[in-house]
């Protein structure tokens, strides 16, 4: 039995233990407390809500792994969504064709990537702190977006976009499929590719990485560019779901993405953290808020419970660390 546990632990990695335990706890608690929790409807709502927060969390993850942060994720997503919306509008609004959508999506991702590219270049060359750089970008994008939209909505989206926000293939929601695809891309990037390897190394010690012959500037620039591109994917999904774009949509997700990363065992100082545990952490957060919803709790209360969960996890991690310490001392 212990061998089995050990094997599972080795396969999943130690970071997964926390989020997985939280997942089990949430399932058990709500399974008892809310009779209709273990139902198709719950999982349907989670499956549709997860992708937006999830994609933005993926965008946040890479910079955090390098020891940085990208505070501009939500407004980058908005700008990308606006880009797509404008392209569709200019091609006939609700009557726009698939061609316009493809062109708009490519441009949207380019806009997201450009926002990341600029942050990456500034961070890598000036060595300014990423918090300051991305904060500046966030304020810039917000101001620019509000100026261009005059604070209003941009709508007039062709009907064929709806399936991207609401459709299902074989019973699995399309946004969830897109999100899972992005999770897998990030997973492969971080575990199997040079860029991922270097991302972790930079996060632990950028100078030592540079001395090892790694182009650390290139890595930083790529990390922020990819982060921006991922924001754009989130922006496109948000456009399809809301049927419109407004600058400020999803703003409250910003700090939740940071929370989800840390809940998924990502080291706040960089260098350590994996995609799959972050994915599980996201599912836990979403289940928690859906469960509370079912029990009739207020949406704001759900947010408060997320905060409590995070604090609990930190205390449990500290306790686990102490127990390990006691064990090694005895041995």
């Amino acid at each position: 039995m212990t061998v089995l546990i050990e094997r599972v632990r080795n396969a999943l990695g130690p970071e997964l233990a926390g989020p997985f335990a939280a997942f089990v706890a949430v399932m058990i608690v709500f399974g008892f407390a809310a009779p209709n929790f273990l139902s198709r409807a719950t999982f349907g709502s989670v499956a549709f809500q997860l992708p937006e927060l999830g994609l933005l969390t993926l965008a946040m993850l890479l910079p955090i792994l390098t020891g940085g942060l990208n505070l501009a994720i939500t407004f980058t997503a908005n700008m990308a969504g606006l880009t797509l919306a404008w392209v569709l509008q200019s091609q006939g609004g609700v009557d726009a064709g698939i061609g316009a959508f493809v062109l708009g999506s490519v441009l949207a991702i380019a806009v997201g990537a450009l926002s990341g590219l600029i942050m990456g270049l500034v961070t890598a060359y000036t060595k300014a702190h990423p918090i300051l750089v991305s904060l500046s970008m966030m304020i810039f994008l917000r101001g620019l977006g509000e100026f261009l939209t005059r604070g209003g909505d941009v709508s007039g989206i062709p009907g064929f976009l709806a399936p991207i926000g609401y459709g299902s293939i074989f019973g699995i929601p399309v946004p969830l499929l897109i999100f899972i695809a992005c999770v897998l891309i990030w997973h492969v990037l971080l575990t199997r590719m040079k860029l991922g390897f270097n991302t972790y190394m930079i996060g632990s010690n950028i100078e030592a990485t540079r001395y090892s012959g790694i182009n650390t500037r290139k890595v930083q620039v790529l990390v922020y560019t990819l982060s921006g591109a991922m924001c754009a994917v989130a922006g496109i999904i948000m456009l399809a779901r809301f049927n419109s774009v407004r600058v400020g949509h999803g703003e409250s997700y910003l700090l939740i993405t940071v929370l989800a990363c840390f809940l998924g065992g990502v080291n706040p100082f960089g260098g350590f953290g994996r995609v799959i545990p972050v994915f599980v952490a996201l599912v836990v957060l979403q289940l928690l808020s859906s469960g509370l919803n079912l029990m009739g709790a207020n949406q704001h209360l759900a947010t408060a419970v997320w905060g409590i969960l995070m604090i609990t996890v930190m205390i449990l991690r500290w306790l686990a660390g102490r127990l390990k310490f006691l064990n090694t001392n005895r041995g």
């Binding site: 972790y200 012959g213 260098g271």
Partner: protein, 504 residues
């Protein structure tokens, strides 16, 4: 033993330790050590890295608590252990290598800030501070402008400031940890004079230094530690450098110099007139295939700057570099690595290895392209590459994915060497490869270096320890103030002659 012959009855010891034991994670760092310091004497604590010197200092200053049974008699009181607060309050001061000073504050503030803490009214009395500082400096026989910010002064004078601060704290016993490690000879002489003044004013000084010439010059007695145990206490009169080395290592060294005939070996690296103003000037040197070239000199002689330039991390102002017959000009260290240059940093902790990350990752970081398969990192190739180097270099590790920081200094350095060998270099530059590596492991590292040279690699070994380059290289260059000022062949020149040239 010699300590019995010593007449200690003349004066009652200021500090006397008995039965001090200390264990870290199963390793005995101190084994039943006793140690004694007389009032006002200059006492040297000698031992190789890892012999327990700093552990002993930390026991005396209360950082570590010795195992039960220890007795610490200090200044008429008896303790089972010290605490940092008691140690300081009763006049025990340590001047660590990093000095712990405030570079932006004035000399007076650095010396006297403790005197103005916690008194009412909570205002800073600058006049009082200056008076206290000038007083302390006078006791050392030194005059400094106390109103200037500390960063204007060279390192030797900062040392003096640290000592003056200890005096303000009413020191009776001052520990100095490698105080001369970064000083030139004239600065060292100046510091030693200050230590003599200090001792004459009744303060006992415990002096820790690698440089045995200084030990012989300044101290009246020497306590030698080896592997955490006391070897003995010896009056300095009658000791020689080689005798102390024997006591520290427990071996009589019959080192032999290398004898390799490289006259027909082609040049791997030819440097002509390389300059970076302010760092090094007009450096010309040649390293042949299979040759190990030593570069020695004091800290700040420009050795590391030269190495970083050869490694492409700094650009030369003028001069030329030819590697394996081809002239090279590197835009970055990536170019240098691709051309076959590898550089093992002198700072293993913060530049050489990525301490929190896995052993395996640290080993493959510089040669990732070699473990790619179809653009992706192949975990099989990675594992086999790591296993190969672990076997070839005899590295002792737990698991490949353990953090590199879990390894001993010697094993870490082997991983760092493996990391560079994996890039298949033509020229390997080793900058102070034995810093923080204990004696046994040092010999192991030099065995590796010697085998690498025999396999045709060109090696540059940089070290400020002359014996290290003397016994492990084919030729020794002496660098001082950015220039190469001498070339020696071990065997043809005596070790002593080179040491005199370098440390003079």
């Amino acid at each position: 033993m010699a300590d019995q012959a010593l007449d200690v009855a003349a004066s009652r010891p200021l500090l006397s330790l008995r039965n001090v034991n200390m264990t870290f994670g199963g390793v005995k760092a101190l084994k039943n050590v006793s140690f004694e310091v007389l009032p006002g004497e200059v006492h040297c604590l000698a031992g190789e890295n890892g012999s327990g010197k700093s552990t002993l200092i930390k026991v005396i200053t209360g950082v570590y608590r010795p195992e039960a049974g220890a007795v610490i008699d200090y200044d008429g009181q008896s303790y089972s252990h010290m605490s940092p607060v008691t140690a300081q309050a009763s006049g025990i001061q340590v001047i660590w290598q990093d000095l712990a000073l405030f570079p932006e504050m004035t000399v007076a503030e650095n010396i006297a800030f403790q005197t103005v803490i916690g008194r009412w009214p909570r205002l800073v009395n600058y006049a009082e501070m200056r008076r206290v500082a000038i007083n302390a400096l006078q006791r050392l026989g030194v005059t400094l402008d106390v109103d200037r910010a500390l960063h204007h002064f060279p390192i030797a004078q900062r040392q003096i400031v640290a000592i003056a601060r200890a005096l303000v704290g009413e020191a009776k016993l001052v520990f100095m940890d490698e105080p001369t490690a970064s000083l030139t000879q004239s600065e060292t002489d100046y510091l030693l004079d200050v230590v003599r003044n200090l001792s004459a004013s009744g303060v006992a000084v415990v002096f820790v230094s690698h440089r045995l010439a200084e030990v012989l010059e300044i101290s009246s007695r020497v306590t030698v530690l080896r592997d955490g145990a006391l070897v003995g206490v010896y009056p300095t009169k009658g000791l020689t450098q080689s005798r102390i080395t024997e006591l520290m290592t427990g071996k009589t060294f019959d080192y032999s110099v290398l004898h390799r005939d490289l006259s027909r070996s082609p040049a791997m690296l030819e440097v002509k007139g390389l300059s970076r103003p302010g760092e090094f000037e007009d450096v010309s040197l040649t390293v042949r295939r299979g040759e190990t070239l030593g570069i020695t000199g004091l800290l700040g002689a420009g050795r590391t700057e030269l190495a970083l330039t050869l490694f492409g991390m700094r650009k030369p102002k003028s001069g030329s570099v030819v590697l394996d017959g081809k002239p090279v000009r590197f835009g970055s260290n990536r170019d240098a690595i691709a051309a076959g240059v590898a550089y093992l940093s002198e700072d293993r902790l913060s530049l050489g290895l990525i301490q929190p990350q896995a052993i395996a990752d640290n080993m493959v970081i510089a040669s990732l392209d070699k473990i790619l398969s179809g653009g992706f990192i192949s975990s099989d190739r990675k594992r086999s590459l790591v296993n190969r180097w672990i076997r070839d270099l005899g590295i002792r590790i737990g698991k490949q994915n353990d953090a590199i920081s879990t390894l001993s200094g010697g094993n870490q350095q082997r991983v760092a060497i493996a990391k560079w060998l994996a890039t298949e270099p033509k020229l390997l530059i080793l900058d102070a490869p034995t810093v923080g590596v204990d004696v046994g492991a040092r010999a192991g590292i030099f065995d590796i270096v010697s085998k690498l040279a025999d396999s045709g690699l060109a090696i540059i070994l940089i070290s400020d320890e002359v014996p290290e380059v003397y016994f492990n290289t084919d030729r020794v260059l002496h660098m001082a103030q950015g220039r190469i000022v001498g070339e020696f062949t071990p065997g043809a020149t005596t070790l002593q002659a080179i040491e005199e040239a370098v440390y003079a």
